[in-house]
Amino acid sequence: MSELVIKGLHVSIAGKEILQGVNLKLKTGEIHAIMGPNGTGKSTLSESIMGNPAYTVTQGSVTLDGKNLLDMTVDERARAGLFLAMQYPAEIPGITNAEFIHGAINARRPEDDALPMRDFLKELYENMQFLDMKLEMSQRYLNHGFSGGEKKRNEILQMMMIKPKFAVLDEIDSGLDIDALKVVSRGINKMRGKDFGALMITHYQRLLDYVVPDVVHVMMGGRVVAEGGPELAKRLETEGYSKLRDELGLKIELTDEDV
């Protein structure tokens, strides 16, 4: 079993403190969800765990099986077992999707033991079929000209091929119609097992109907303010975030409160 532990994490972007002491513990075999209103630091959390250079960690630690991820470069974190399905995956012309995923897998293997192309393609095509992706997408340039839904599926495809210990899924449900949401959920559920843990970041309960979490965390104002089971997500869906905030006596302004 592996363990991802976030302790007292403070993160700033452009001098402004967004995370104000986040604590979380995640084990392989578990799926956690983080919910929270807009502008509360959910994406900041995922990006700073991965090491996006735009974010500065000012305090706290993130460890994977005791090793401090914050001391590692982005690629080292990935090879240590971390994966981030990004909200806005970059488009990179000139390198095909298949080449890229093959390269990512080989980056985890010894130089003289690359995954044979045939074995790789067999697995890639199986997973693409499982995600209802057209096989020709493997030969297109990485995310280049992909629709929003195609990019999300492609993130899940990469996760299935790379098989990380822990995946952080940053709003993997945003911009998806119900059919695509079901496909993406199917991918996550397929990964579910004793060697895989996930942290799903979402605004909405809907994703959690398809991927039922073991633990639900609620973030507000740069902190985790509540924890519970799947029923907590259902309650938020009916009552909204402001009710929970008021119950907890928090003085936090919700970004979209007046909308």
Partner: protein, 407 residues
């Protein structure tokens, strides 16, 4: 050599002219103190060891010596000529006398005159009328920098009426002595001919070079250039397509990479003289560390070139804060009835692209090369021959790795 007296005359004339002429101008590059003067005595080592990658060329020249050369029998039977400069002077004086200096006049500038005065080896390629050479002609010119000496190489490639030929040249340096190189390539594409010219340069770090490649293109003829400017020294490159005939075409696809503290200036020019002539320039450059790369793209449509088309795209990508680069498109239009367009950009590597690639476990240097590959992709895909594309790609990768290893 009795036959070469006329040529000795030209060389003497060039030597006399040189001091009266000016060096060519390269925008934003101060090359005044570069050692481009020729005059270091040739003393090519006939035993110099050749890197194995150059072993399988049809023609291999090292410094002033021709080391090996095998023209296939079927080409010989069709009247195709591929020979070194000495043999060209001896046996094909008529061709040389007719075409030498047609694309690059000896008095164009001081460096072309000095070049003509000092040629110490070269090659003549002649493809007769209506002959199609199917397999590419591959040649390598290796500079012997094991000693102090100049490297002065002249290429004259003539595609006669309605012929077609594909030619691939590699330039490289053996040894690490500081030397001057002067390379002039003349391509004569006669009416209806098709020439695919690929040049991949990897001259050494201590080499200072003037490289001039010019095509003179007649009616309905087409020249496709694929150039990899991957040398490591100080380089001035001057590439021109002169579209003389009606319906003549030139496609100039150029990739340049600079590393360390090298400086490379490239002037790429298309001159549209002919009606309905079409000239496209596509050049992408990548600049690492403290190096400099300046691209000038010049499209000049002359008066009377009705219906001419002049397009160009010049882009550079910088990988470090200390890199210096520029991409200047210049369009000079002297006729009304033309199509012309240009695009240019100078940018830095996209941090979010690197982050994305690294987040999948790909190390930073590999990620950088992938982003660069994406940037160079549009030029690579325009290179018509798969062989050239592969070789260019491999050489780009190698130069990038060498550059990254300097960090």
């Amino acid at each position: 050599m009795e036959e070469a007296l006329w040529f000795k005359g030209i060389q003497a004339k060039a030597a006399a002219l040189a001091p009266t002429l000016k060096r060519p101008v390269f925008d934003k590059i101060d090359s005044r103190d570069w050692d481009l003067e020729l005059g270091a005595r040739d003393q090519t080592d006939p035993e110099l060891a050749i890197p194995p990658e150059f072993a399988h060329q049809q023609l291999l020249q090292v410094g002033s010596l021709t080391r090996s050369w095998n023209l296939r029998e079927d080409l010989r039977a069709q009247g195709v000529i591929v020979c070194d400069w000495a043999e060209a002077l001896e046996k094909h004086g008529d061709l040389l006398q007719k075409y030498f200096g047609q694309a690059v006049p000896i008095d164009e500038n001081r460096l072309t005159a000095e070049h003509a005065a000092s040629i110490n080896n070269g090659i003549l390629v002649y493809v007769p009328k209506n002959v199609a050479v199917k397999e590419p002609i591959t040649v390598a010119y290796l500079q012997d920098a094991s000693k102090k000496q100049d490297f002065v190489e002249h290429v004259l490639l003539i595609a006669d009426v309605n012929s077609s030929v594909s030619y691939m040249e590699s330039l490289a340096t053996i040894g690490a002595e500081a030397n001057t190189a002067s390379i002039v390539v003349e391509v004569i594409a006669r009416a209806g001919s098709q020439v695919k010219y690929a040049g991949i340069d990897r001259l050494g770090q201590k080499t200072t070079a003037y490289i001039k490649r010019v095509a003179k293109i007649s009616q309905d003829a087409k020249v496709d250039w694929a150039l990899g400017m991957l040398s490591d020294g100080k380089i001035l490159g001057d590439f021109d397509s002169n579209l003389i005939g009606t319906g003549s075409k030139a496609d100039m696809n150029i990739i340049a990479i600079t590393i360390g503290d090298q400086i490379q200036g490239l002037n790429t020019v298309v001159n549209n003289y002919g009606r309905k002539s079409v000239g496209h320039i596509l050049q992408h450059g990548v600049i690492l560390q403290r190096s400099s790369l300046i691209f000038d793209g010049i499209g000049h449509v002359m008066k009377g070139a009705k219906g001419a088309d002049a397009q160009q795209e010049n882009r550079v990508l910088m990988l470090s804060r200390a890199a210096r680069g520029d991409a200047n498109p210049i369009l000079l239009i002297d006729d009304n009835d033309v199509f012309a367009g240009h695009a240019a950009s100078v940018g830095r590597v996209d941090e979010q692209q690197l982050y994305y690639l690294m987040s999948r476990g790909i190390p930073k240097k590999t990620a950088e090369r992938l982003v660069i590959r994406g940037f160079l992709g549009p030029v690579l895909t325009r290179v018509p021959s798969a062989d050239v594309r592969q070789r260019l790609f491999a050489m780009v990768e190698r130069k990038l790795i060498d550059g990254q290893d300097m960090e």
